[in-house]
């Protein structure tokens, strides 16, 4: 096998599992170390660079980083990355002076953004400091989009949202509130240099079963109902409520229902628990609020008697798996669950009734969705870009942010008359973390503590007021310990082949037996059979050195369960192993080399 090229930023980036899994590639270990040092402002700013909304995401992110966390492979539970992000936001001081600023001298380019959700705001965040004139059209009276109207205040207080949206808007975005865009043609006619569509996936899915329209006031579409609660159009719901669907919107619906008068709330799932779409922590939080979850029930009809909804009929399913792993259901029985109201939370669709089909934006005939390039976020009409849920359907806030950054790069290229496919590359820095004899720029000792438990507000207090935030946040003491659980995967074990004397010291000391000196193999699979402790998880890379000076064997490192404890480097007599801080340099709009 050829030697691994560690000069390609992707190799070390992949070792940092959380950062690799994060769509916005937030430097998680970096900001956790800043929290450990009590440098909350710096931690917040490091977060903001990539994910723009640390306070919001620290409460609401779907955290793709956490299942990826190395700690899961080493013990059981990941580092509480998401809630530590909130710690940085909660404990920060006034950082307004450190925010990016728009120059007085504009560059003369005008950009229109449709919708003031996370995608559009990220585009504005990246383009305003470059001198662009950014106008955001928003149908509601306040910014935030789905973050404001669909995420209940008990999970995300309005003050947090206002503050972080404000950081961007105050740079000088032109906000057109209460201005829904109903014609793309008309918008294009206004002569903007580029248009960004970040209008989300605003249409809740319908469930057209018998009885659906017989008592319409009692049957709601989840995201519409949540928005109505937010705007105060709905203040009460009947006592017995069924929620159809078991995604994260269903969790918000059931918990909101509990706060507006429902006493018995039941969430109905078509399949078993392991297939639930809701994140495990959102399920836990709902169940803590005494919401019942019923599995394997498939809706059949709404039971309406004398014009009043009295229940819903379900088929009780039994699921079996055939040889190819496909799930098949058989109906065991039917069953009526009594209720006074139903909320449908079975998914969302995009809808673009306002985009005329003859403006040069091609739509996929099958899904009736615009055709959008996965890298450039450009539609088939030059200068029109899509991002967030508007691009490919419902995702999470962090995806919208990642889209926004990429779309901003494209818009900047487009406005400079350069091809949008020409994109600034990722870079990296790699600096030794050695501070002295056995002294490192990070805490390399292993923290055996279990994951910190989030403190929650009392049930009575939270049901009394819908705006009472449930999660109280970590205390500084809890945060201080939790950050030490981070294995510092960005402090890389960097090997210099020419220095190695093959003394085996690193191989002997490695607590998880990641290292092997062996004869080179023809393929990775071949090499893996000769490792000290062959990995069960083959998703992680194997590092292979050049031929070693004395025996021409190779140094092999299995990245799977490396603890980044630095013992290999401490035991290395020649500093062939060194611990080096890897910093991924992400490109943003305007960072292209001339």
């Amino acid at each position: 096998m050829g030697a691994t090229d560690v000069n390609d930023p992707r190799y070390y980036h992949k070792v940092v599992d959380c950062q690799w899994a994060c769509p916005a590639h937030t430097n998680v270990p970096g900001y956790l170390r800043l929290i450990a040092q009590g440098r909350y402002d710096d931690s917040y700013m490091l977060n903001r660079e990539s994910n723009v909304f640390p306070g919001i995401l620290g409460r609401t992110c779907d955290r793709p980083c956490e299942p990826a966390c190395r700690r899961v492979r080493v013990e059981e539970k990941p580092v509480a990355i998401c809630r530590l992000k909130r710690v940085a936001a909660d404990l920060r001081g006034d950082i307004t002076a450190r925010l990016p600023k728009a120059p007085k001298q504009k560059n003369g380019k005008r950009i229109a953004c449709v919708g003031a959700g996370p995608a559009s705001l990220t585009v504005a965040n990246d383009l305003l400091p470059l001198g662009y004139d950014v106008t955001i059209f928003e149908q509601n009276a306040k910014p935030g989009g789905l973050m404001r109207v669909n995420i209940p205040a008990f999970r995300l207080p309005a003050s947090v949202l206002d503050e972080e949206c404000g950081y961007i808007i105050d740079m000088g975005a032109t906000m057109k509130y209460g201005t829904p865009i109903d014609s793309m043609k008309a918008l294009l006619a206004k002569g903007y240099d580029a248009v960004f569509v970040g209008s989300g996936a605003p249409k809740g899915k319908e469930l057209d079963l018998p009885g659906r329209h017989d008592d319409p006031g009692k049957i709601h579409i989840g995201i519409e109902w949540l928005a109505n609660v937010h705007f105060g159009h709905v203040e009460r719901i009947e006592p017995r409520v069924l929620i159809i669907g078991v995604g994260n919107t269903a969790m918000d619906c059931c918990r909101t229902a509990k706060r507006v008068g429902a006493t018995d709330v039941t969430v109905i799932a078509r399949r078993g628990r392991k297939h639930f779409k809701a994140s495990p922590w959102e399920l836990e939080d709902a169940e803590e609020e005494l919401v019942e979850i019923v599995e394997n029930h498939s809706p059949k009809r709404f039971v309406v008697e004398n014009g009043t909804l009295v229940g819903m009929e379900f088929e009780v399913l039994e699921w079996t798996e055939d040889a190819s792993g496909r799930q098949k259901s058989t109906v065991k029985e039917t069953r009526i669950l009594p209720c006074d109201a139903v909320i449908l939370a079975i998914g969302q669709d995009n809808a673009f009734p306002w985009i005329e089909r003859d403006v040069g934006i091609e739509f996929d005939p099958k899904w009736d969705m615009p055709v959008v390039d996965k890298t450039t976020f450009q539609s088939t009409r030059e200068g029109v870009f899509f991002g967030g849920d508007a691009a490919w359907g419902p995702e999470n806030i962090i995806w919208a942010v990642a889209h926004g950054h990429q779309a901003a790069i494209s818009i900047h290229q487009h406005c400079q008359g350069k091809p949008v496919t020409e994109r600034p590359p990722q870079g990296m820095t790699l600096v030794s973390a050695k501070m002295g004899m056995h002294s490192w720029a990070y805490s390399n000792d292993y923290e055996p503590a279990k994951r910190a438990k989030m403190q929650h507000e009392d049930l009575t207090k939270r049901f009394a007021d819908i705006t009472v935030e449930v999660e109280l946040g970590f205390t500084p003491e809890q945060a201080a310990r939790e950050v030490q659980r981070c294995l510092n995967c960005d402090i890389q074990t960097h090997f210099t082949t020419s220095l190695c004397i093959e003394c085996d010291a690193c191989v002997d000391v490695c607590p998880t037996r990641c290292l092997t000196i062996t004869t080179n193999g023809t393929s990775e699979a071949d090499l893996r059979t000769r490792l000290s402790a062959p990995a069960e998880n083959l998703d992680q890379a194997v590092y292979v050195s050049d031929a070693l000076p004395q025996t021409k064997r190779v140094m092999v490192k299995d990245e799977d369960v490396c603890l980044h404890c630095g013992l290999c480097a401490e035991r290395c007599p020649t500093a062939a192993w060194d611990m080096r801080t890897f910093d991924l340099k992400l490109p943003y709009a305007g960072m292209m080399q001339p």
Binding site: I501, D504, D508, P511
Partner: protein
């Protein structure tokens, strides 16, 4: 030295041996030796061998004297018995321990200073007594703990770190042991666990005195260009006389025979050692040929390694002394200490 202890995290695939222990259960405290010391690799090899042999830690005695090498008994099998003795006196202390309790497995760890200078007489007599023990001689050619003076195993012409050449003839522990009638004589290299681990295992299984001379480079004082015990020099001049494979009693032999004659030596516990000489006419069960081979290698400036000589038929210390086979701790008090009347009777024989 390291700044932290080894994190208590096991590899997800780490297996348990037949007595329910993982490899890491055979570790000791963190080594305080220099980074890259050959001794640490030998420690790791002992850990590996003990785990594979399913030694019960509480049935092992770790014996040592003074020196860098003698510190290493702390770095493996932290649940075992141990005795860190006076400089050079480990063989005597082990003789005493083995006399009192022959039921334990004794692993003695010593160095070239401890064994070939201050303790050379002790070593010779332990070989003569054929004490049932594994004797690991961690040989680096210098006194590392006192800043790198030549030891008694330094070769003529090899230089100190400052460039001074050694002019005194070395003591070769292999030739010494062969001439004293040792029954298990092997040499290996800390940088070659593939060879060292089976040799350690066979040495533990051997009934009698098993001497394993291990070239163990001193990274701080003897890993330079003028050294004949450096990593690079050993790798360039090592000549493996015999490939050894230790086959425990339970394992079925499924390895196909390859070229070369294989000598199978049956150990007293039913396990066996399979020896495949790499030089023609080499017979690892013939003391004369072993001696001649080691001398010939020496003359060519080569380092003969492998299990060089083994004889499983010899009597060990207990058989030679006709002592009771039971460890004294298990002999009933009445038999062990039969009282004044028995003593008087014994004394009467000398009057």
């Amino acid at each position: 030295m390291t700044s932290i202890a080894k994190p208590p995290v096991k590899h997800p695939s780490s297996r348990q041996n037949g007595i329910g222990l993982t490899l890491r259960d055979y570790e000791g405290v963190m080594s305080t030796l220099c980074a890259g010391c050959g001794h640490d690799s030998i420690t790791a090899s002992i850990v590996q061998a003990a785990w594979e042999m399913e030694l019960e830690p509480h049935r092992v005695g770790k014996m040592s004297g003074i020196g860098c090498s003698s510190k290493t008994t702390a770095y493996f099998m932290k649940q075992s018995h141990g005795f860190n003795s006076v400089h050079g006196r480990m063989p005597s202390v082990t003789s005493g321990a083995a006399a009192a309790n022959g039921g334990l497995t004794y692993i003695g760890v010593s160095g070239d200073g401890d064994s070939l200078s201050i303790g050379v007489g002790q070593l010779c007599h332990a070989i003569r007594r054929n004490v049932n023990m594994l004797y690991m001689l961690e040989n680096n050619g210098v006194y590392g703990l006192t800043k790198g003076q030549f030891s008694a195993s330094a070769d003529i012409g090899s230089t100190s770190k400052k460039g001074e050449a050694n002019e005194q003839a070395p003591i070769d522990p292999i030739l010494l042991a062969l001439s004293l009638g040792a029954t298990y004589v092997a040499r290996s290299f800390s940088g070659d666990k593939r060879q060292l681990v089976p040799i350690i295992k066979a040495g533990i299984a051997h009934k009698g005195f098993a001497l394993v001379d291990v070239i163990s480079p001193c990274v701080t004082f003897n890993d330079h260009e003028g050294s004949t015990k450096s990593y690079a020099y050993t790798r360039q001049h090592e000549v493996e006389a015999v490939e050894a494979d230790y086959v425990p009693l339970r394992r079925e032999i499924t390895m196909p025979e390859t070229k070369g004659a294989v000598t199978v030596v049956q150990m007293h516990d039913g396990s066996s050692v399979r020896l495949r000489p790499t030089a023609p006419d080499y017979d690892p069960t013939d003391r004369e040929s072993a001696y001649a081979h080691v001398r010939a290698c020496q003359a060519r400036g080569e380092i003969a390694t492998g299990l060089l000589f083994v004889s499983e038929g010899a009597r060990d210390m207990h058989e030679l002394a006709r002592t009771v086979p039971t460890p004294l701790v298990d002999v009933p008090f009445e038999a062990l200490c039969p009282g004044q009347a028995a003593l008087d009777k014994l004394m009467a024989r000398y009057r």
